[in-house]
Symmetry: C2
Subunit: 485 residues, 2 copies
């Protein structure tokens, strides 16, 4: 019996799912708080009470610790940590990325993870730094794949084994590796070695890497974005199809006096107020936390609550079909996240291919909304409209006569474009709410008109619009009659 993953609900390329590992079931997207047995800022039973159904810990720390090794081997990991949810173990790969070397072999760490009763085991993959050249990436990727194959042999096909996906910044390698892991039957795929990208806000590249991996990974596989723990980027990652995160950030940031929010991190020392609704922030002042002997624990708790509640917000957004709104909200929090968001929007075809067909609403949130999958998908739909020989696209919604014998009349709704009047209540036309039309919106709508022209090359098309839109329409659409009323 291997790890199983069931998808219950989808929005953009994100999903709400159910990860089954043995008898344990985890609702995804989920955050796995990282537990360091040497420094348990928040003890695992308390993590469970806070809502964490799964945690991750480092098998290598147990392996190397005289204190914990024997305990874990004799009592098992769950008993030592006091946690009856899912425990995933890292192999030592993290130490490899930090120190360049570990004193354990792939086989040793796997057998040790098995012996201590880990629920999800990870081979000793090579976390190739994203800035490595192609030769290095290829060479290290081969070692990783060898180790994954070795892991299969050592543990057998039924083991709860994760298949970590490496490949540096090379999209083709990430995609191929995703496909290879799928072919090997992996249903749990951590995308690895992206921490350096996140640490230096290289979200544009992160998006390219993850989307490439996702093109290869079967959509039925649970995807873990290894090392992602800042809530500001969860929505973006989920929109790409990531299902799991793990956070050491809640504790590490706390030790550095840093206060997590969904719009970035702040320094506790610089806070005049606690801009959060969690129980700590509502019952304490910044000064009280600063002066408390319990400072790190209080900050860590706040950090984790914020992180877990962002996961809840993502669940709700997927259920509601409003994940784009959340992605848009979060990604404007930092210009580099905005770059990542724009990169995601640039992959319209990949994204809209899996997005759900109907949603409760389309709220326009600024020019980036013109590139959302609902718009891309609608532009694709337009090619199915038949115009006849003479057609009109009218910016004004009117059922009156136009004084001309048109074979078909379309109304116009930016950023989508032309639509047959009978579709005016269907998604997305009928559920779209817009501020006053703006240039970017109308330009996107003109793209829809161009799609209509392309699929009806014989048509003599007239666009009827108010004088304020004539220049934009003229710029965007060639060879069309413009009737500025």
């Amino acid at each position: 019996m291997t790890i199983s993953f069931e998808i219950l609900d989808e929005d953009i390329n994100g999903r709400c799912g159910r990860l089954k590992v043995g008898d344990n079931v985890l609702k995804t997207p989920a955050l796995l708080p990282v537990v360091n047995p040497h420094l348990p800022v928040i003890p695992p039973p308390e993590l469970k009470a806070m809502g964490a159904g799964a945690i991750i810990t480092n098998a290598y720390i147990f392996y190397r610790s005289s204190e914990f090794r024997e305990q874990a081997l004799s009592r098992g990991l769950h008993d030592v940590l006091g946690f009856d949810g899912i425990i995933m173990t890292d192999s030592g790969s993290f130490q490899l990325s930090v120190y360049g070397d570990v004193e354990v072999t792939n086989r040793e760490t796997l057998l040790f993870q098995k012996a201590i009763g880990s629920d999800i085991l990870v081979p000793l993959d090579i976390p190739t730094h994203p800035d490595s050249d192609r030769d290095t990436v290829v060479k290290e990727l081969e070692i990783t794949m060898d180790r994954i194959r070795e892991a299969r042999e050592v543990l057998g096909p039924e083991a709860h084994l994760a298949g970590p996906l490496q490949g540096g910044l090379f999209s083709d390698l990430r995609e191929e590796t995703g496909r290879a892991l799928g072919d090997m039957g992996f249903t749990f795929t951590p995308v690895g070695a992206v921490v350096p990208l996140m640490e230096s806000y290289r979200y544009r590249e992160l998006v390219e890497v993850v989307l490439a991996a996702k093109r290869g990974i079967p959509s039925s596989s649970c995807v873990h974005l290894f090392g992602a723990g800042h809530p500001a980027m969860f929505a973006l990652a989920v929109a790409m199809g990531c299902d799991l995160f793990d956070s050491a950030a809640y504790a590490l940031y706390a030790k550095e006096g840093r206060y997590l929010t969904t719009h970035g991190s702040m320094k506790l020392d610089e806070l005049s107020d606690l801009p959060c609704s969690c129980e700590i922030c509502r019952h304490t002042t910044p000064d009280e936390i600063r002066k408390s002997p319990d400072r790190i624990r209080l900050l860590a708790r706040h950090n984790l609550i914020v992180t877990l509640s962002e996961i809840a917000r993502i669940h709700q957004a997927i259920t509601d079909g409003t994940l784009w709104e959340l992605v848009d909200e979060r990604c404007r929090g930092h210009p580099e996240l905005l770059r990542g968001y724009r990169a995601l929007l640039g992959h319209g075809e990949q994204i809209s291919a899996r997005d759900r067909i109907s949603k409760r609403r389309f709220f326009y949130r600024g020019s980036e909304s013109c590139l959302r999958s609902e718009v891309t998908r609608y532009h694709d739909l337009i090619s199915r409209f038949f115009t006849g020989r003479r057609a009109l696209v009218s910016f004004e919604r009117t059922s009156g006569s136009f004084g001309e014998p048109y074979d078909s009349v379309f109304w116009f709704r930016p950023p989508f474009g032309p639509y047959p009047p009978e579709l005016h209540e269907t998604f997305p036309i009928g559920q779209s709410e817009l501020p006053d039309w703006d240039d970017d919106m109308v330009r996107a709508g003109c793209k829809g008109i161009r799609a209509l022209i392309t699929s009806n090359p014989e048509c003599d098309l007239t666009v009827r619009c108010g004088p304020e839109w004539v220049p934009v329409v003229r710029q965007e659409i060639q060879g069309v009659t413009i009737d500025g009323y």
Copy 2:
């Protein structure tokens, strides 16, 4: 001794301040939860414990209630409600807006408010519906102003009297009235009769009304946006210079099973998760709340916590000089809020005149950022730059020779525009973080180049830019040499 208001910190047109009413001091911006003595969903002592330093209650309810009237007269309002913070009383004006009539005169309500020990008294102003015609507005405004003058006579100049500001949708009347109230010495000004606008999401008109009022009201006066209780619009209102809100929403919404968030309201019945970090949402499931006999109280507590923590976030944003980021985040939550936000950005001159000169950062969040006060203000600053006879604006930041004898060389940073190289570390140039340049950003920067041309009409200006920007520069700037490298 009257109501005093001190401004401690400013950002955009918002302020952190200190409102002094008798011995009580209230940190502003602040939210005054509305307390209905008949239906105290959350008892006032609990409101205090949750962080509310002031509340508002309706004197007319006390006046008309056989149960509460005598109690309030004999024991005083603070004792009856069990609240030792600031208590503001509404006069019956709310009932006037709902029922069209009240059974109390202006003099009677004022003397009653005084007798029960209200901290902030409100005359019986006429809440003219925003859709009223000018004649009605003028006529009712005259009655309101008469009643304010009567209030002054009845209570004397030292009373803690609010001067409510009416004027419908007529900007000139709102502005004049603001000035008149300032001339009368009011330091506490509720902007009234805007609830119908907020109820129907007419934020664009709300912005026009409030900005008009603010042009008249002295900046030293504390401004209360009467009836504003939804946290999604606090940031926008504070950015315009509102200091106080009052919320019945936390309780009313709870009764209707509605769940407040800073990005809109949701129906409890439709929630699969509780997307919030408050103590109720982290320790309960939607189903548990739905089935709880304590459902309304739990929802009301959540609603109020969210509302109060939004106030904390606003404080922090003003302290940090990042209020534009918060306004941008909130106002994209609904297309009508986005309209309001864009309307605010359209008042660049009024806004930038009072905005602070230097901030910690300028994060670009999308094309709306091109209209922020930092950009407007920078464009004004450009007129002070002297170019000499031949000048160059270079999109590339290079200190090399340009092969031409220029009298001055400027670098270019969108959305600001040209800047002398020696200013490259000063605000906003040096503190601005941008994603990849986009069209809107570069167009805004070209506006800066135009300002440079306008203030140096004798100059022969060359713009040096990459080929991708030549079409935009050509469109935006006439009569300039373009050197596309």
